[in-house]
Amino acid sequence: MGVIIDKELCTGCGQCLDSCPFEALELEGDFAQVNDSCTLCGACAEACPEEAITVPEVERAQDGRAAQAKGVWVFAEQRGGQMPEVVAELLGQGRRLARELDVEVGAVLLGHGLDGMAGELFALGADVVYLADDPRLAEFNDDIYCTVLARLIAEHRPEVFLAGATSLGRSLIPRVATAAATGLTADCTGLAIDPDKRLLLQTRPAFGGNIMATIICPDARPQMATVRPRVMKRGGRQDGRQGRLVAVSLTPEDRAATQVLEVVQALDEQVNLTGAEVVVTGGRGLGGPEGFDLVRQLATALGGVVGATRGAVDSEWIGHAHQVGQTGRTVAPKLYIALGVSGAVQHLVGMQGSDNIVAVNNDPNAPIFDVAHYGIVGDLFEVAPAMLNRLKTLRGQG
């Protein structure tokens, strides 16, 4: 199976070949041909100037779930009573989607000893909070968390279910979607509603951020998505806002097979890259481990965290946990500063979603400048100290 190419319309221009992320198109004589690598992603159909390419329509099972489902749900992730920032962002986004669908916003909170957190969720925009408070949920174990969530979904049938694309969310939610037998779109950066069909339009980077794809889940419900932290605006907070609290109890049989023996907070190493507003990243241009002192100073001055390229990590100048990119973390902070980073594609895919990118590199042709909003050609050992000085001056500290 593959896309259908209309030989009447195909001019053999080859534009589809360049658009294909999977090398599934070849030129045979004067026509494009599709091979077995085709995943039916549709990038070529989009790229074809002649509209010669169509993605085949496929019959899918309709199970009527869409008609019955109602409500937008948000997974209120917490660890040790702390909710990551993304929960507020999801509730802000959830409210906007719920308004368009004219439904309520539900928040699902699992854990133990979570007094007061439901109130916070109401303040952040939840109309209903489903609270499962049980000692068996005190630590995060995928299987029992999944059992509880899947049961709630089966019972209440939300039409949309959003969770943060955090480590916890990306471990748990695929399991929940499988248990609920529905579709899941990972790490979305854009969500919208098609009001006619009540469909959630889920946009995410694919193929390492080089293409964007909009994905729908036409029939199964809920329509599930994990959402990248720091891309959705958080909603307004309204103190004292009230809502319905639904207590959820576990059955006697519910238990986790896995057991958390220890929770280690790596606070000594400031590496919460995914949640950071500011990331200052050093590359091989730093010349050695000492170079990271400058990176740390700038990160500290800006209230940010330290990132690194694989080049720097492989040189053992800094730990793995700092690596940004395809085989490290994906970040999208408000401000990303790259010092001595060449901008290899595997690095760019992990940071090109940042709101403001500053790059300092002494090679004017470094690819990092293609994605930088502020590209500074110069020696980082001169430019970065100048940045620090200016900050001090403006803050009246020097």
Partner: protein, 265 residues
């Protein structure tokens, strides 16, 4: 211990450059490779076999040419391979992918541990591992970065979290997905490479897995891609050149003016 490792063939992005105009990939002679994270999965499986004994089966679902990754896995030292290939698999989302992989693992019989990579670099979903675990009714721990204890009936692993890591005990059978920190992949052995050359790869199609056409590929998927487009790299671009004192100060001023940097904190 019987270990199944799921590995995927993906296009190699190492030699690819971004086209600065269109921000699409410039793809000249891009080759296919083993998904980089799956090399860590293979390495983890090899280390576990060293400690606990047993055998490793590498499984991949993909077009016929995906047999290359099975050969590579044999080269690294896995015992057996299995290729799942069928035209009907095309266009599978993670739901339809886990349908095939879970059936294949079930078909091996008596698998104690399934190891997956953290995510595949083409789709970046990280959904397949936990999905397989749920389909097989197995516990799972995702984003494993290290092992504390490896025994025949249980593992104690370190699970990477955003704010640190957890030490988690998992009874076997179970599934893990691994991140880079589990250890650098060893190079393939000469013996393994020799064996890979001769190794006849077992293959299964949808029917042999006991799956119908409607359960796999695009037809068996819940999600559907409706649009693909180039990312917009929004925002103006400025190039600052000149003496460093000047450019360094300029960029800070611009960021302060645009309220990216707040001075009052």
């Amino acid at each position: 211990m019987k270990i199944a490792v799921c590995i995927k063939q993906v296009p190699d992005t190492a030699n690819v450059k971004l086209d600065p105009e269109t921000h699409t990939l410039k793809r000249e002679g891009v080759e296919s490779i083993v998904n980089p994270f799956d090399l860590f999965a293979l390495e983890a499986a090899l280390r576990i076999r060293e400690q606990a004994g047993g055998e490793i089966v590498a499984i991949t679902m993909g077009p016929p040419q995906a047999e290359a990754v099975i050969k590579e896995a044999i080269g690294y030292g896995v015992d057996e391979g299995l290729l799942l290939s069928d035209r009907a698999f095309a266009g599978a989302d993670t739901w339809a992918t886990t349908a095939a992989l879970a059936k294949a693992i079930e078909g091996l019989g008596g698998v104690d541990l399934v190891v997956c990579g953290k995510q595949a670099v083409d789709g970046d979903t990280a959904q397949v591992g936990p999905g397989i675990a749920q389909r097989l009714g197995l516990p799972h721990v995702a984003f494993v970065k290290g092992f504390r204890e490896i025994e025949n009936r249980r593992l104690v692993v370190e699970r990477q979290m955003d704010d640190g890591f957890d030490v988690v005990e998992m009874p076997l059978p179970g599934l893990i997905t691994v991140v880079r920190e589990v250890g650098e992949p060893r190079p393939p052995s000469l013996k393994g490479k020799m064996r890979a050359k001769k190794y006849a790869i077992p293959m299964k199609d949808a029917a042999q897995l006991g799956l119908e056409a409607g359960q796999v590929g695009l037809a068996g998927s819940f999600t559907q891609v409706v649009k693909v487009f180039a990312p917009s790299h929004g925002g103006e671009r400025h190039r600052l050149e000149g003496p460093p004192e000047q450019t360094g100060a300029q960029v800070i001023d611009a960021l302060v003016d645009n309220q990216v940097i707040m001075l009052g904190s």
